[in-house]
């Protein structure tokens, strides 16, 4: 029987290894899996690379993870407002920052998910973020080549889940979550609601269970008003 439900956050995260590349769902705090973040902090893995759209804006958990000194690198599109914990590490050279245009992060993650090792995009051509990248012209326009962004772990916030790992999201809590869920070797989901197999309409499943390894039911809070 396929049963991806695990009882606790600690169990879900038990085997996250040092040096892991971790995809963290969410746009700001909306759709960011808070309990999994707290769990990662407690779990103790070090030398992590975190891929997240923001550097912890509005997030209770992410700044704490930076402060713990266990993040070696952040891949991110918009690290502002910048949590003091991140800023301090960045200024002292203790954390690396790779700023990537938001659409390029999304597409690089998708590329990893769908077996595409590299693709071309016009985004960043002729800019500082495009410097040093391989370029190529197609039909008279210049593009940069971007590589797939593979990851070891994805931490995902879902709205509803079943034991096969099928997921739906709520509102703009969707954001990076479905793309990240597809792209990691180990995809761990916290869900607000756990439903019976068959309760999710096949037409309405956003993330098919094939992409999901573990689901933990937690009392995921609503994001704060903003």
């Amino acid at each position: 029987m396929i049963d991806k439900r695990v009882a606790t956050v600690a169990e879900a995260l038990a085997d996250v290894k040092d040096g892991s590349v971790v995809l963290l769902g969410g746009f700001g705090v909306v759709g960011q899996p808070q309990q999994l973040l707290e769990g990662l902090l407690a779990q103790g893995a070090r030398d992590l690379t975190i891929v997240s759209n923001n550097a912890g804006f509005g997030s209770p958990g992410l700044p704490k993870l930076f402060a713990s000194g266990r993040v070696a690198k952040l891949i991110c599109s918009f690290p502002r407002p910048t949590p003091p914990a991140f800023e301090e590490l960045y200024r002292s050279g203790k954390i690396k920052l790779e700023v990537v245009p938001q659409g390029t992060i999304a597409e690089r993650i998708r590329a990893a998910a769908v077996g595409v090792p590299a693709f071309y995009t016009p985004t960043s051509v002729g800019t500082r973020l495009g410097e040093g990248k391989e370029t190529r012209d197609f039909d008279g326009r210049t593009y940069v080549m971007e590589r797939a962004l593979h990851a070891d772990v994805a931490l995902i916030q879902a709205w509803r889940a079943d034991r096969w790992g099928n997921l739906t999201y709520r509102g703009t809590g969707r954001n990076f979550n479905p793309v990240m869920a597809m792209a990691a070797k180990l995809t761990i989901v916290q869900t607000r609601h756990m439903v019976e197999l068959g309760d999710l309409d096949p037409e309405q499943v956003v993330t098919p269970g094939i992409f999901v390894d573990r689901v933990v039911l937690v009392d995921s809070p609503d994001p704060p008003p903003a």
Binding site: F27, G28, V29, V30, N53, F57, G58, S77, F78, P79, R80, T82, E87, Y90, L97, V99, V100, P101, Q102, G103, T104, A106, E107, I109, R110, T121, P122, T123, S124, V125, G126, T127, R128, L129, R170, G171, T172, G173, R174, N175, F176, N177, P178, V179, V206, D222, P223, P224, P225, A226
Partner: protein
């Protein structure tokens, strides 16, 4: 200074309204931070314009009343929003596919500088101590069918922002089609900036004096 004294510069809301007048019925539009967020209030009566948010929304409505907020709905600025009838939600790869694929009729952004070749600088200053942050700006600039900029014509100190070549790091090269400022509406043409209209009381010469790039009169 006598001419300058007669100029009635556009207020921020007038700037938004001026630009909004040029958005036709039925366009799909992404609005950047700051000034552009004022635009929806000034879309002329009877036009239906669909607003896109990079984080996976088409059909954003007005901001919600404080007592009816769904905190699972935010825009690119992370403000709570509402959805209109006809709205749709989608994930980030789809949202930026929409952007990069040229499906948005228009994107309106603020900027530090716009150059006469259509270059835009709006994501980073040259101060080395700032933590760089680009967000979706480069994707929006490279991908949108039309990029219009809404910004003050000069800096607070009076330094030009409509320039020959951008001095700040580029967000994208050669993409701006129009600039709307407190002083004028400008079109970017292969020959440089053409003036579409000016603030009341402003002369072409006076506008040129406040602009580093060479301006052209409309043919």
């Amino acid at each position: 200074m006598s001419t300058a004294e007669q100029i009635r510069q556009l207020s921020r809301t007038e700037m938004a309204a001026r630009l909004a007048r040029d958005i036709p019925d039925g366009w799909y539009v992404n609005l950047g931070l700051g000034l552009p967020t004022l635009i929806p209030d000034y879309i002329p009566e009877g036009r239906e314009v669909v607003f896109h948010s990079e984080n996976g929304v088409l059909g954003m409505g007005p901001l919600p009343p404080k007592d009816a907020v769904d905190t699972w709905l935010v825009n690119a600025t992370k403000q709570n929003i509402t959805l209109l009838k006809g709205a749709s939600l989608f994930h980030h790869a789809d949202s930026f596919g929409m952007i990069r694929g040229g499906h948005l009729d228009l994107c309106v952004l603020g900027a530090y500088e716009v150059a006469e070749n259509g270059d835009i600088a709006n994501w980073a200053t040259n101060e080395n101590d700032a933590i760089p942050a680009v967000g979706g700006a480069m994707d929006l600039c490279s991908g949108s069918r039309r990029l219009w900029v809404l910004m003050e014509h000069t800096t607070k100190e009076g330094a030009p922002r409509i320039v020959r070549r951008c001095s700040y790091p580029l967000t994208a090269a050669g993409v701006v089609k129009r600039v709307y400022t407190n002083l004028a509406a400008l079109e970017v043409t292969p020959d440089g900036f053409t003036v579409l209209d000016m603030a009341p009381g402003l002369s072409f010469e006076s506008l040129q004096a406040r602009t580093e790039a060479k301006l052209h009169r409309q043919a």
